[in-house]
Amino acid sequence: MNLTQYISLVDTMARMSLKADASRYFFGYIWWVLEPLLYVLVFYVVFELILQNRKEDFLVFLMVGKLTFIWFTKSVNQSARSIVNSGGLISKANVSKTLFPLATVQEGLYKQLSVFLLLLVVLLGNGYAITSAWVWLIPLVVVNYIVIVACSLVSAFLVSMVFDFIVMVSLGTIFLLFVSGIFWDPRDLADPAATDLILLLNPLAFVIDAYRQILMAGVAPDAWHLLGIGAGFGLLALGMVLVLRRSSQFIALKVLTS
């Protein structure tokens, strides 16, 4: 199978999975937008209405953070199970094990496109204007996608080797929810050095902050920092592709016998 066929297969698997998924629900494709909105609503009720958050324009701030964070967590959590859930197919054909997490990530990307559209409507409806800084959304979305691909490949590999890692993946995404500035702003910290440290150590916090900087403040992100995250996670993704290819038959044995 050549690269074009492989990409076409990943795309077809993702589209078919979306179709199958939508057919299970009464509201079908509406859930692509409805589910993230309900997540935002839950956070809004807790932090704005109950905890009386004082942050200006908190709803938009929360939506930008939460809607981009959900893209990451859902993709990584679903990819984590993607290989072990494909035992039927793995038992019948010597297929590349990268197919399963990558098709899951692609599925998440297609859903996220409609979420980004919703975000655009919310931003424009709340008086935010499209500025020249929005051009930075292109490299930012690409880097965000690379981060998701790399983390999805790592989680899918670990869970296929030892299923217990599924607990760690789930806990890890909850940990990231609290430390990535979804419902709080790293820039509001009293010590600017602490802000810099969080944005440096947590790539997801940097990416979410970059979305807010571009969309809400009209400010371009630190290009070198963005490039560094893209390159680092790009290398991790390539390394994981090699690991999954080299251990393809061992993964099949683990999935089918444990």
């Binding site: 793995i90 019948k92 054909a93 297929v95 444990s258």
Partner: protein, 266 residues
Amino acid sequence: MSADGLQAAAVPVEDSRRVMLELRNVSHSFHARKDSFEHGVHKVLDGVSLKVMEGETLGIIGRNGAGKTTMLRLMAGIFAPTSGEILRHPGANCSLLSLGLGFQPQLSGRDNALLSAMLRGYSRREAEACLEDIREFSELGQSFDEPVKTYSSGMNARLGFTTALLTKVDILLIDEVLSVGDAQFRQKAEEAMRDRISGGRTAVFVSHAEGQVKKLCGRVIWIEDGLVRAEGDPEQVLRQYRPPPAPAAGGGSPPRPGSGPPGHRG
């Protein structure tokens, strides 16, 4: 190296036909599940050696759990052997003819056929070009565009078998796929399968059905307890192998089949 990473070296020629696939002293084992209280290693194949010649249909028989399916998975490159070598003729690819590859019950027969064909290595365009033929052969009519979850088991099997026929390989590995659908479709399936493997194609065929093995195979291997128990002419090997009687109610280990020659390692 072959595409799937298995070693593929030039195989020596021993008769007029080329050796397409060779297992050399292949053993396969895995660690049993911990929750089954079997902490030890489960040995499936133990030093098996065999050759598959170009254009022949090799039959593999043996009781359930004898290691037939594992052997096909090793040949297909799904598993790597724990020890030993699997050699293929350079450039020859090898895969399982499997029913319902990648099928999802929520999707229509058409979508499943498309996905299944692409998983077998077809490009999207090639897969789309096959869809009408699949609809016709599987006799699904308008149901082809309805979700597979609404199909009867016979319809499901017809779609599964028809998409399985798309497999394009040099060495076809067939695992119990001919018992599909009703009697009329079964006959059609058998004919289609005979056409596929009579045209000089190399095939390995696993079945419990003696009639099918006799009709389709030129040579038969009997696998028992991970060892090759007998090998040769289908009539002769099938005579040695007798399927075990159904186990009596209340369990107990099934009796050993047949009274064949002592086990040898390939």
